[in-house]
């Protein structure tokens, strides 16, 4: 019974636990729908101070300022894309954690595919060459054959 209570308590704690974000309570918008949109946008924006965290996850001062800015733009009636564009206009596409497909990022998007194709081409060349029968090998001459027979017929050292 005590075990069951413990398990139930643990399950309750886990159910109540929410993932930790750096968003402070006073930054949250009262409207849960707007807040959800702000959170989704913020998770796709890079914190420029830490560079590997989104602004929703970062404790940096700039991330805090950008979270507030994102929420202000949403309250002002901007669409999601407009809010992102607002930040990109100031910090460049680098702030987007998902790199957009532009001429600058072709190497990033298609580079791996090109490398894979080159690797497949190289591998197929190598394997084809290996599988090909060695047809340029000349048959043994009469002298060679006699020598080979002599060598094979020779008793082995330990038998002798």
């Amino acid at each position: 019974m005590r075990r069951l209570t413990f398990a139930a308590g643990l399950a309750g704690c886990l159910a109540l636990a929410s993932p930790a974000f750096a968003v402070r309570p006073d930054e949250r918008l009262a409207d849960p729908k707007l807040e959800a949109r702000a959170h989704a946008i913020g998770q796709e924006l890079r914190c420029l101070v830490c560079q590997n965290e989104s602004i929703e996850d970062s404790d940096a001062g700039l991330a805090h300022d950008l979270r507030i800015l994102v929420r202000q733009r949403l309250v002002a009636g901007d669409g999601d894309a407009q809010v992102k564009q607002y930040i990109v206009a100031r910090y460049g596409t680098y702030v987007l954690l998902k790199p957009p497909l532009t001429a600058e990022t072709y190497a990033l998007w298609f580079g791996p595919l090109v490398i894979l194709l080159v690797a497949i081409a190289l591998a197929s060349i190598v394997y084809r060459r290996r599988a090909r029968p060695a047809n340029d090998v000349k048959p043994l001459s009469a002298v060679e054959r006699r020598r080979l027979k002599a060598l094979l017929d020779q008793p082995r050292a330990e038998e002798a």
């Binding site: 420029l48 560079q51 700039l62 300022d65 800015l69 206009a89 100031r90 910090y91």
Partner: protein, 185 residues
């Protein structure tokens, strides 16, 4: 047959040479200050953002976008809480002495009393100092860490940005020559 053998030796050497060249080039760039964590500004060769900032000292007029017109300006974002700013501060007076360049300071997310105390202690090389208490103008400029400095031409177009402290090398070799060129045009 011989050709295949030759290729077998030449290919790794060629790959090595390519890799060596690429890494040497990247190291050279890092030495020039282009570290991988540096984010190039999207505002280069674009009009400076709109702003209207209050002055730090009550007897000054403040600083707004229209003040950029007709002169070459260096806008320097600094803060009293910023450690590298201290080092940089020594070199700013050198820029301020060059004729035709106005150096304007913006106290970024700083308390006015702290910023004035800092300037009283280290000297005030600025033509005027404005405050950006919430860092909003900083965001419009794409500031992501102080100090940052912007060289802005007579038409209000950003021509150069230094992320991090200005060093004597950057000032002598890039900032001042470029500012002089902008002044002549």
């Amino acid at each position: 047959m011989r050709q295949a053998v030759k290729l077998r030796f030449a290919a790794p050497i060629a790959v090595f040479a390519l890799l060596f060249g690429f890494l040497a080039y990247r190291l050279f760039l890092v030495q020039q200050g282009f570290t991988p964590d540096l984010i190039p500004s999207v505002l280069i060769n674009k009009q400076a953002p709109q702003f209207a900032l209050s002055p730090l000292f009550a007897n000054e007029p403040g600083f707004r976008t229209t003040d950029l017109k007709g002169k070459v300006t260096v806008v320097n974002f600094f803060a009293s809480w910023c450690v590298p700013c201290r080092e940089e501060h020594n070199y700013l007076s050198k820029i301020a002495k060059v004729p035709g360049i106005e150096v304007v300071g913006i106290a970024y997310k700083d308390r006015p009393q702290d910023a004035s105390m800092w300037l009283a202690e280290l000297g005030d090389p600025y033509k005027t100092v404005a405050v950006d208490p919430e860092g909003k103008t900083g965001i419009d400029f794409g500031v992501y860490g102080v100090p940052e400095s912007y060289l802005i031409d007579k038409r209000g177009i950003i021509r150069f940005k230094q992320t991090g402290p200005l060093t004597p090398d950057v000032i002598d070799q890039r900032l001042i020559p470029l500012a002089n060129r902008l002044n002549r045009s």
